[in-house]
Symmetry: C3
Subunit: 153 residues, 3 copies
């Protein structure tokens, strides 16, 4: 059984540095066995934001790349701020995709985030999920995801 850290290396992924909040709040807050992660946007390892609306300027594939970037930022918080060894599982993911009003393939966009969590974390990466298309996201990011995690007892 590989650890998530080993899996990240095997997959050839590079995590961005643990993202700093874009406002007056914490990257994550622990309450009992739950951890609430702040919304993570589609920002790459160099700090560049994948901007734009999916279905109006951005293709489905670009939206999927944005979902993967947002997930990598969430993984960075898990690794650098919490520690994978303390995490029992991902409980819930809420995915917000900045879309054109007539773009509805939101699940296909967010599957790239869900897939990545499953690849890196295995069964504990499986989660409940809600998926929504919104008119605007912070800094014109294409995707924002937030997570609820469960810690090991």
């Amino acid at each position: 059984m590989m650890t998530p850290e080993e899996k990240i290396i095997q997959l050839g992924l590079s995590l961005p540095p643990a993202p700093k909040p874009a406002g007056l709040y914490q990257p994550c807050v622990v309450s009992g066995n739950l951890v609430f992660l702040s919304g993570q946007i589609s920002r790459d390892i160099a700090g560049k934001i994948l901007e734009g609306k999916v279905g109006d300027g951005l293709s489905l594939a670009q939206g999927q790349e944005a979902a993967k970037l947002a997930a990598l930022n969430a993984l960075s918080i898990m690794k650098n701020t919490i520690g994978f060894s303390k995490i029992a599982r991902i409980v819930k993911m809420t995915g917000f995709v900045q879309t054109a009003p007539d773009f509805h393939e939101i699940p296909a966009v967010l599957n790239k985030a869900s897939e990545l969590f499953a690849e890196v974390m295995g069964e504990p990466g499986a989660h409940a999920r809600s998926a929504v298309g919104v008119t605007s996201l912070p800094l014109n990011a294409a995707v924002e995801i937030e997570l609820v995690l469960e810690l090991k007892s």
Copy 2:
């Protein structure tokens, strides 16, 4: 005191089969005493989605019908995947309505879901709620709702 199953029959309602996720995720995840249900969309018992934007093509009444359909899918998960006898209460509902930018009667739409939970479950069906109008939902569904439930200890 009727059980929720008996109440569903008395109300003449038919639950759709427990919905399959539209992506790579679980219908619900249990963490401690809480259950996080994935977003449920306005899909009828035959699998047909009530599509469109409320206030632009769909009327308020059609939006309310969509909210009821989404609630019936959530009830199906409660019955078929969790079991009503294990559920202490609905804690929180988040309702997303696919709206025209100038349609703001979102609470009136979602009341039909809240009403249905109260009718079927009684007092344990009462919940905290947030209501939002969004530009796009998965598969062009008119309504999506997600729930947090509490299990009996």
Copy 3:
């Protein structure tokens, strides 16, 4: 150390009466040590809603005023319905801003709510946060925020 009530007075703030839900739901629901607060909109002490879309009719400053109003309503529930002395901390805030499709300074809007929580509650007011721009909110409110709180054991 001032209590939140004393701090509210020191800051010259007036809390609106504990808001009544705009639909068939509860202002907040307790589950274990967590409290889920229903979405609070930008309504002032006289009951008047700060309406409109930020970036299309409303300025950034007006959006920030709306965020502060929504936060004051949440503080009113904490004071009048729960009691500050029972609250350990704010765990999570989700902020929905009714925006024009090209307005992306959503964190700057919501910082005014986060700031107010920190001013009134101190360290326990710090929280995880997600920020989203949506096409429509109930009653045409400019801002809606929801909170998850942790109670003292």
